[in-house]
Assembly symmetry: C2
Homo-oligomer: 217 residues x 2
């Protein structure tokens, strides 16, 4: 059933999950697609279409059961199980990730931090010891690692990512500023902060233009 | 001419810019859309279509002048001018951003760091002093601030973002894990790390399924 669901739909699912979580926290038990639509600023038909990709969940005219929908989307997103993460690169960004406890609430647990800089050996971030890269192989053999976060300079990223894949890690959360060249079966999620800044800068440059166009209408 | 260009197109432009920069660094002066396509794993027709949104830049059968195209895309993205950034929230993520020097190469310069935690007062990150939030107004009056990066907990994010807008900052780079409620003229670029992790986790769960489908073909 989940064959051929576009990444655009998948990209919206965490947002649904987040909003439903907030509704749950607020004690809301049931919500119509129209109310959810108003809150999320997405059309009600978009919501129905997105959820229909996974088989629906709503009854016509009766709305969605918030808890049920929340749990089901959690299952779809695979966050009903724990994911063990190692962070490769214990610089500022790697340390920021290790310090960010909220990932754990969703079952994403950082179990290791690795770096090549001997000055970082033995440093501990929120109880997680920084290990040297030559300890990586033994570590991965001893523990299940589901995801490797890459927070290293782009010059070393491709080589390191391919090493990780050889060690059996098939999911990379890539913060290095390049597109990794990896076998097709490896799942990669990119966070390109510079690209994001450039998109922001484009929108700043066009903000006035858009505003002027709007005022004309 | 740039009216109505979709954010999907805009999202691809930084990637073109990045690849063209690498070609330039490698001494490549001219490239056909086919070569660029093979390198970027985007169809040649997609590249032509994307660039046609801005008026083209290529001559049929003659390819693109790399330096010219790089500069033009830079202008489109608005990175031919300096953007001054302040970071609100000098925790790990805020410090990571302040330490990340590569943004400066693109003209994104972090000129201030702010926090509410008195323990951080006077701390200096790469020469940038952490200031307390009550100094923000005077700072923004004294210096041009183009972008505010929000790296604070989501509980305070909406209120803080609205304060920033009142101070005249109309572009927010939002790392807080919620969708900000701001006037329509404010430009917001979200980096939702948890959403990104959930998308990764979905793709991990479906990785095997996709692989099986592929093997059947």
């Amino acid at each position: 059933m989940e064959k051929g669901i576009s990444q655009a739909v998948i990209r919206r699912m965490p947002r649904y999950y987040r909003y439903l979580g907030e509704l749950l926290d607020g004690g809301v038990e049931r919500i119509s697609s129209n109310e959810l639509s108003a809150r999320m600023r997405v059309t009600a038909s978009q919501i129905r279409q997105d959820l229909n990709n996974f088989g629906g969940f709503g009854q016509q005219g009766y709305g969605y059961n918030v808890k049920y929908l929340y749990d089901e989307i959690g299952k779809i997103l695979g966050i009903n199980q724990q994911h063990n993460i190692i962070v490769i690169g214990a610089g500022n960004l790697g340390q920021a990730l290790a310090n960010y406890m909220k990932f754990e609430k969703r079952g994403f647990v950082i179990i290791g931090l690795f770096d090549v800089d001997p000055a970082l050996e033995g440093v501990t971030i929120r109880g997680i010891q920084v290990r040297m890269m030559d300890e990586l192989q033994a570590f991965v053999k001893a523990q299940r690692v589901d995801i490797a976060a890459l927070t290293i300079p782009k010059e070393r990223a491709d080589e390191t990512a391919n090493e990780l894949v050889k060690l059996g890690i098939h999911a990379i959360w890539n913060f290095a500023h390049l597109d990794l060249e990896l076998p097709e079966y490896v799942v990669v999620e990119n966070v390109h902060l510079s690209d994001s800044l450039m998109q922001l800068s484009y929108n700043i440059a066009n903000q006035r233009k858009f505003k002027e166009q709007k005022d004309k209408k």
